[in-house]
């Protein structure tokens, strides 16, 4: 957010909350209570392979939604930000001769910290780590005893980001690129010829939880987004490349999604309960 927009935001807060923030100045605003939130919806292309179900790749359409928040923390002298990213996707794929389909769905939650290296007033690089939790499925509409594949894995990701605030004429824009890749994790996977009946009905769980790393789960997620102010709103246009791969228990999987997303950016300032109590009850909604 550029300086002018930041001042405008502060002005708004001061107008609305004179009893709380009248003495507040820009440099004393608690930035760790200012959250940038964006909810997006997108559509794209998917390519799914799971050799537990089929030797063939299934390609089709991917629908996705995401919710992301970022704010500064008090950690590292206030140079560390926290990111909370939740996404859910659903894809429908067909094999190359279009006589069978798969359905796939995944919920992915990333939560972690980045240290912010402010290279200039408008440009910064972020580096950090994320907890990366994934739960989903692939369902083959034709198979009998191996109709579906459960996808469940948790990773620690390395993450890097670059954020650039710039102007085109008088329009303030924000460009962001982020790259996450799992370094270490655990994954659920049946063994190559093991049925889910054997795992869940007979209770043979041995060998189904595997430690993963770059050699067995070479995956990455990358985001490229552009925030554009339109009237009173700020729109975010994004490309999300979600490239998930694994080679565990002699089962190969990949899920390549390239999704274009759009959503609204909101900036929210969090007031403490103590500050809220100073507000007259008559002006509060609740």
């Amino acid at each position: 957010m550029n300086y002018d927009a930041f001042r405008t935001l502060i002005l708004c807060i001061e107008l609305l909350l004179p009893t709380v923030l009248s003495a507040q100045k820009l440099d004393s605003l608690r930035t760790n209570q200012l959250t940038v939130r964006c909810v997006q919806y997108g559509i794209g292309h998917s390519n799914i392979l799971d050799t537990y179900l089929s030797t063939q790749e299934y390609k089709g359409i991917d629908f996705r939604t995401s919710r992301e928040t970022m704010r500064m923390t008090n950690i590292g002298k206030g140079n560390v930000s926290v990111q909370n990213f939740l996404q859910a996707d659903f894809s429908f794929g067909k094999n190359r001769v279009d006589n069978n389909n798969t359905l796939a769905g995944m919920v992915n939650w990333n939560y972690g910290l980045h240290y912010q290296f402010k290279l200039s007033d408008n440009f910064k690089l972020l580096a950090g780590g994320l907890g990366d939790t994934n739960l989903g499925f692939i369902y083959d509409l034709r198979n009998s005893n191996n109709p579906a594949s459960l996808r469940a894995y948790i990773n620690i990701d390395a993450s890097a980001m670059a954020i650039w605030h710039f102007h085109i004429k008088k329009t303030a824009l924000v460009l962001r690129y982020q790259l996450n890749t799992p370094i270490l994790g655990v994954m659920f996977s049946p063994e190559m010829g093991e049925s889910y009946y054997e795992i869940f009905s007979l209770g043979h769980y041995s060998g189904t939880i595997k430690l993963t790393s770059l050699h067995s789960q070479p995956s990455l997620r990358q985001f490229l987004s552009l925030d554009i102010p339109i009237g009173q709103q700020q729109i975010r246009l994004s490309y999300l490349g979600d490239l998930q791969q694994s080679h565990v228990n002699n089962i190969k999987t990949h899920s390549y999604s390239h999704v274009f997303m759009i959503g609204f950016v909101k900036r929210l300032y969090k007031l403490s309960n103590k500050e809220l109590q100073k507000l007259p009850a008559s002006i509060q909604a609740y």
């Binding site: 392979l49 063939q56 190359r96 890097a160 890749t181 049925s195 009946y197 054997e198 770059l214 002699n250």
Partner: protein, 326 residues
């Protein structure tokens, strides 16, 4: 760290070779699927490389789908496995000699005469009390549900009987859970019934250790009187598993013909042209680690006699009734 990770990722595309949708490509894909995932090569002493050499000679780039289907079906036929099928939109390649080459020992019409018209139907079970106070149950498809409630009601109704006959002839299988649910009502203690292994790698002998499978007694009614299971060569897959489970119980006798087998849990995959292929992926064994792929012998061999059949009598049912009334 991120740069190292990216370098590794860029050189680590996880994918499976995508064969061309040509006769050669489909042949090679099918051969490879079976080579890596089929579970009975060594038990059946099949040289799969040799099979490749034999059948690849029949593959030509200009052959049509019907000719390709026939060659691929014949190649799969060398496995002599009822769980191995190739499915196109117009046909299903199968090996059914496990029952087609043997006497049926079952006549649907004669069975229906025993049931009459006033029998009970619940889920997949049909049952009635015969005139000599023997309960007769026919279960023709393990795909049809049998819940504990259904079985409890059935056994309550049959409680006055001296013994029961469970007829699973011509039952080609279905859900393994139905097999264990039904069998659990005939034991009052946990019983070791079988073992299972599964493929862990692409080698013909890459198997997990054997995992023991136990039959837990039902929380509902547990039948403790005599039971006779009627079998024929058309008892396959989940029915084979049910017969194996029941064979472990002291009050149960198997009567009839050897079962058809089907001791491998089938999985499905597919070829570049979209044809689906089913294959045995994990072998099941009896409680002594013997293979049950080629069937389970009965305790008492009995065949349906022509003379009885001509009189509308079922030799197997009549023999079972006599044994239960002794």
């Amino acid at each position: 760290m991120l740069l190292i990770a990216l370098t590794l990722i860029c050189g680590s595309c996880v994918s499976e070779k995508q064969y061309s949708d040509t006769p050669e490509g489909n042949f090679e894909q099918l051969w490879k699927i079976m080579d890596q995932k089929y579970c009975f090569f060594d038990y059946k002493k099949i040289d799969w490389d040799s099979v490749h050499n034999v059948y690849s000679k029949y593959i030509t780039s200009d052959m049509d789908d019907n000719a390709l289907f026939e060659v691929l079906g014949n190649m799969l036929g060398t496995l002599k496995d009822g769980h191995v099928n190739l499915y196109s939109t117009g046909n299903t390649a199968r090996y059914w000699s496990w029952y087609e080459d043997y006497p049926k020992n079952f006549d649907e019409n004669i069975k229906d005469r025993y049931l009459g018209t006033d029998y009970h139907v619940a889920g997949g079970l049909k049952y009635k009390i015969l005139s000599d106070n023997i309960g007769y149950i026919y279960y023709g498809d393990f795909s049809e549900s049998v819940s504990n409630g259904i079985i409890n009601d059935m056994l309550s109704y049959l409680a006055i009987c001296n013994g029961i006959i469970i007829d699973v002839r011509n039952n080609g299988g279905g859900l393994m859970t139905n097999s264990s649910t039904l069998a659990s009502h005939f034991t009052d203690k946990k019983v070791l019934t079988s073992y299972v292994r599964h493929k862990t790698g692409s080698g013909h002998n890459d198997f997990s250790k054997p995992y023991a499978i136990y039959l837990d007694p039902s929380d509902g009614i547990r039948w403790q009187k005599k039971v006779i299971i009627l079998t024929n060569r058309h008892c396959f897959s989940a029915t084979n598993d049910f017969v194996n489970n029941m064979h472990c119980l002291p009050s149960v006798t198997l009567l009839g013909d050897k079962t058809g087998g089907g001791g491998g849990m089938p999985f499905t995959s597919e070829l570049p042209n979209g044809w689906a292929v089913r294959y045995s992926a994990s072998p099941y064994y009896d409680k002594s680690m013997n293979q049950i792929e080629f069937g389970i012998d009965p305790d008492i061999y009995v065949s349906l006699s022509t003379e009885d059949a001509s009189q509308g009598r079922d030799t197997l049912i009549e023999t079972a009734r006599n044994l239960l009334n002794k």
